[in-house]
Assembly symmetry: C2
Homo-oligomer: 197 residues x 2
DNA sequence: TGGTCATTAATGAATGACCATTCATCAACA
DNA sequence: TGTTGATGAATGGTCATTCATTAATGACCA
């Protein structure tokens, strides 16, 4: 059989997994289905992944890597905490809303077991929350945002709003763009962060 | 074998299912495990439920029934939209935080497939969101809350905050009470709903 | 240049474990 | 004695994973 550039098949397997898992769910997708769509033999999957579950982990890692990379780029030039947070909100919705199949996986399939969610949450989402909390703390220090609530609490609240919008969008059948909700989310969040009278 | 009052075994099976599914996940729990804990034979499960998945649906229905009943009671005496929304926030956190095993199921296990989440979401959570949106619309009409955002959007945002707090609590290992976050959530939400300057 | 050979990616049929569901049988009741 | 709730061993189907086999490649040598 022909040799392939090493990265090729791994990517092909991940791409196939996104499509299959998005439409049949993680447990409804067999390794054979993924192999078939990727154009490889069942056994080949095991040359690149230790098992079925590692495919799901890799999927999440790949998505988070892209997410983080893009975020770092986009925020590089912004100093103002208000501008930074607004950018985070728009970017979150834009990136999640950019690929419906992937969104189904991040919003639904990845959350299917306590052990799994716990692992992911701690590993990657925790860092994201820290980043948001950092921006909020800056805004508090600058005196533009309320200080009677902890930055980490506020970060979780903001994330909760974004995550709910994303999940709602995934479940809605109507053909809307998730990013279109950026303006409303921003208004809501900025309102919540205003200093109290 | 002795006859039981009809409801008894069904309840016992559901109670057993909560414990098993909370600790092993839905797919990691076998029907035999549930039967064993409930003190019935494997086959008995099928006298009360059409299949394994119906157990999960029934679990959610039972929880939502209790939730709704309690909510209706508690809100009966309150007219002021502000008081009503504050009560909803506290109640949500109190009820979800009252039973960790059940919380694991509502926050994690019930969301394991698009088809499933979609079904539940439309059937029961949709009604809950409508109720919150109704309270918000009242407050807007009374002039105490901002009117530049739709009631349903605001209801989803508030739900997102509550849901994130609940999930975060389920995943956290520290021994905190979920209801303790009611005050901070209320301050956040009330801040977000204030009329814009 | 052309002909071995060793190496390694890739294959896919076979394996074995797991588990939801069924149903022949049992035992308590009226 | 007929009815019915309950039992739990047996069944059948489904897959994740393995591994003996195949084939492409490059190294080496004449």
């Amino acid at each position: 059989m022909p040799r392939q550039a090493t990265g090729r098949k791994k990517e092909a397997i991940l791409d196939a997994a996104v499509v299959e898992i998005a439409s049949h769910g993680y447990h409804g997708t067999t390794v054979a289905m993924i192999a078939r769509r990727a154009g490889v033999a069942d056994g080949t999957i095991y040359l690149y992944f230790a098992g079925k579950e590692e495919i799901l982990v890799s999927l999440f890692d790949r998505a988070m890597d892209r997410f983080t990379e893009r975020g770092t780029d986009e925020l590089a030039g912004l100093d103002d905490p208000v501008a930074r947070l607004m950018r985070i909100i728009d970017l979150h919705l834009e990136l999640v809303g950019g690929d419906r199949d992937l969104a189904i996986i991040t919003q639904v399939e990845l959350r299917h077991s306590l052990h799994f969610l716990d692992q992911l949450s701690r590993a990657r989402v925790g860092g994201y929350l820290q980043a948001i909390a950092g921006v909020i703390a800056e805004g508090q220090a600058a005196g533009v945002w309320r200080r009677d609530l902890e930055p980490m609490f506020l970060a979780k609240a903001v994330f909760g709003v974004l995550d709910e919008m994303a999940t709602d969008w995934v479940l809605s059948r109507r053909n809307t763009r998730l990013a279109a909700r950026g303006d409303a989310v921003t208004r809501f969040v900025m309102g919540a962060l205003r200093p109290t009278a």
